[in-house]
Symmetry: C2
Amino acid sequence: MASEPKTIGAVERTLAIVQALERLGGAGASEVARELSLSKSTVYTHLNTLHANGYLVKSDGSYSLSCRFLRLGSTVQQSFDLYGRGKPVVDELATETGERTNLVVEEAGRGTCLHAADATGSTDIYMSPGERWPMHATATGKAILAHLPVERVDDIVDEHGLPSLTEHTITTREALDDELETIRQTGVSFDEQEAVEGLRCLSSPVLVDGNPLGSVSVSGPARQFTDSDRERELVDALREAVNVVQLKFVFS
Amino acid sequence: MASEPKTIGAVERTLAIVQALERLGGAGASEVARELSLSKSTVYTHLNTLHANGYLVKSDGSYSLSCRFLRLGSTVQQSFDLYGRGKPVVDELATETGERTNLVVEEAGRGTCLHAADATGSTDIYMSPGERWPMHATATGKAILAHLPVERVDDIVDEHGLPSLTEHTITTREALDDELETIRQTGVSFDEQEAVEGLRCLSSPVLVDGNPLGSVSVSGPARQFTDSDRERELVDALREAVNVVQLKFVFS
DNA sequence: CTCTCCGTTCACCAGGGTCGAAAGAGATAA
DNA sequence: TTATCTCTTTCGACCCTGGTGAACGGAGAG
C-alpha cells in the first residue's frame, strides 16, 4: 500500500480505454475521451495502436473490441483443467434439472464464472463467463472457501471484507465460519438471496486431493426452490454431477 | 501503407507480452524477456502494470492471463446478435448430427469462430471461439463471401491473397468466383480438405435482408462424409438450422 | 449558408519508459 | 555450512516518446 511498485501510465490508459469500450459497447475517440477525461488526440493514438494490432474493429469511425479478446478469453478458459472436464457435466446438469448452472473458480479472492449453462441453451444467463462475485455472498464462493486453508480465507476476508449485497448477506466472520463448518459437513452450500434479491442458488465444491478446484452450482428464482422435494432432487443431481467431475480427475 | 499512423510503443510491447503469455500459457519475467528480446526490467514493469490492473494472476513468480480476458471475450461474444440467436441452434445441430458445429462471422476479412459445439459437449474442438481462418479456404468463409458485395470480396482478396493451406485450397480468383456462384445457387458450401488435410466441412450462410451475418457449419473427418445419403442428411439438418436462426431475426 | 461536432494530423516539450547494474530471494550442489 | 546459479525485484539516469492543444477537412443539422 505504502509504495505501489512502478507501473506504466500509457498502458494503464490503454486498459482504461479497453474497459470503456467494453462498457460502452463501442465508441468513437471523442466519446471515450470525454468518458475518461483524456485528450482526444491521446485517446485517438491509443485506439489507433489497438486497431493496428487487431484488437479493435472500426466501423464508421466507431471502435469496438474485436474477437481477438474472444480468442484470449477462450484460451484462458481452456487453460483450466476444470473447464474441459466440468463443462459437459455442467451442461448436462442444466438440461437435467431445467435450471441454470455454473462452473466457478476462485481467482484473486473472488468467485469467477468459468462456464454458464441454461436448460434452453440460451445465452440469457445470470452469471456469464469471467464475471466475478464476492465469495462470502455466493453459494459457489462459500463452497470453495469451506475447503480452503484458513490462512487463505483470512487473506481473502482481509482483502475484500464482507460487504453486504442484500439484507441476507453474511457480514460477520463468525457467521461465515459457522456456515463454512456446516458446508464442510453437508458438502453442499446454499445462497439464500445473499448476493441477489430473489435468487437462490445451491452449490457443491469440486474437491481433488482435498483441494477445492472450483464449484458447481444450480440456481433459479427463490420461490421455485422452496419445495423441499424439489430441493432434494436438485441436491442429488448436483452431488452426482460433482462426483462425475471428480472422477474425471482420478482417471486423469 | 506508406506512412503508418502513429502508434504507442509501450502499448505494443504490452500487447506482445500478452500474446507471449497466451502462447506460453504463463511465464516469468525472464522467460518473456528472452522470448521477446526485451530487457528483463522492462518486461517486469509491464507485467506489474497488467497485474496491478487485474489482467494477470501471479503464482510462484509466474504470470498468466487472468479471467478478465474471459470477461472481455464473453462480452464481445454476446455483443453479436447472431450469437444469442445462433448458439442454441448450433448446439442442437451438433447433438442432432453427432458432428462438430460452428458459428462463424467475418471480421477484418477473416472467418472468426463465434461459437463451437460438439456432440459430446466436450471442449475438444477443431475451431475454438475467436480463432480465425482465411475465408477462401473454409466452407464457412466461402458461404459468407458468396453473399458479400463484390467490392468487399475484392478488398478481402487484395488484403489477404489466396494462400494455399493444403493441396486442395482454391488459389485462383477465377476458381473462387465460380465456387461462390455455385454456392449462391445451392445455398450450401463445401470445404473438401481445403483448410486442413482430412477435414471436411459443410456450411450455409445466415442471410438477413440479403446480408450474410455469418455462417453455420458441420464438420468432421473426410472419410465419414463420403456417403452421399449421410451428406444429404447433414445438408438438410444444416439448412433447417440456418432457417431457424434466420426466423429468429424476422421475429426480432 | 453557418455552426457544430467528429476523426485525424502535426510539432513541441516534459514527463516517463527503458535499460543496465545490482540488490534480495530461493534453490541446488559440494 | 558456503558457493554458485537463476530468477524476481529495485533503483537511478538518460534520452526517447507519448501527451497535448491547436488546427484541418468533412459530415450533418438547423
